[in-house]
């Protein structure tokens, strides 16, 4: 499974795994969106510690979740990104939208 989702009170943590590209972004997106729709969490954590590669498809993934979650007043946190992933995210200016750790 490319994403494991832990649901806590007011918070979900989506632990992404493997490579994020156009080929598998769609499935990741819908898995996370189901959890967001169901729980409406105040905080959504996207944990990238298991991600070995990401191209700009991952940007769409983060931006889309940011749009959904901020629309109802929630927050998105991006965690455990590698140097390569940080570089792609900075290029997109994602560090201005979501907090990247």
């Amino acid at each position: 499974m490319p994403v494991i989702i832990d649901t806590e009170e007011n918070r979900i943590v989506a632990r992404l795994k493997g490579e994020i590209d156009h080929h598998n972004a769609k499935e990741l997106r819908s898995d996370i969106d189901v959890a967001i729709d169901r729980n409406r969490p105040e905080i959504v954590v996207l944990d990238f510690s298991g991600v070995t590669f990401m191209d700009s498809s991952g940007i769409g993934l983060v931006m889309g979740r940011y749009k959904t979650v901020s629309a109802y007043g929630g927050q998105v946190f991006v965690e455990n990104t590698s140097a390569q992933i940080k570089k792609v995210m900075r290029l997109a200016g994602l560090d201005r939208l979501a907090e990247i750790k």
């Binding site: 156009h22 080929h23 972004a25 590669f53 700009s56 993934l61 390569q84 792609v88 290029l91």
Partner: protein, 146 residues
């Protein structure tokens, strides 16, 4: 410049081949002893170019993608990625960061921005109805450990 190695691969425009193209390029360029970060950046640029062929060139229909990689004695990687799909009507607009012709697919519109940032030089040629070719260059600075 003398050619150290060159490889040409033609594969169908299935999205699972995005990963294949990254692995193929990584394997060819490893002969130049690139750093982890050089590999990651070149892989990302290749992934963007191949995704463009699939999403835009062929609009998710069946087609062929040609990947050509050449290594020269000056430690430069030259990569050419070619499709014979729809072509780009306005290259300048297509290369603008955040512009995408398919916003409904959650594409960020950053493919070319990534290629330009991660490679030393890129060149895009396209003809409507004939297809698009992306040429990218990156010099490998061996011995650096980052």
């Amino acid at each position: 410049m003398n050619v150290k190695n060159e490889v040409k691969i033609i594969f169908p425009s299935n999205s699972c081949n995005e990963a294949f193209a990254r692995v193929a390029v990584t394997s060819v360029i490893s002969a130049l002893d690139p750093t982890v970060s050089e590999i990651a950046e070149i892989k990302t640029a290749v992934s963007e170019a191949v995704t463009n062929c699939i999403v835009h060139g062929y609009r998710n229909t069946a087609g062929k993608i040609e990947l050509y990689v050449r290594l020269t004695e000056d430690n430069t990687v030259y990569i050419r990625i070619k499709d014979t799909g729809t072509g780009i009507p306005d290259i300048k607009k297509a290369m603008e960061p955040l512009y995408t012709s398919v916003p409904e697919e959650e594409r960020a519109g950053l493919g070319f921005a990534v290629m330009e940032n991660f490679m030393d030089r890129i060149k895009v040629t396209s003809k409507e109805g004939k297809g698009t070719t992306v040429k990218m260059y990156r010099k490998i600075c061996s011995g650096k450990n980052t």
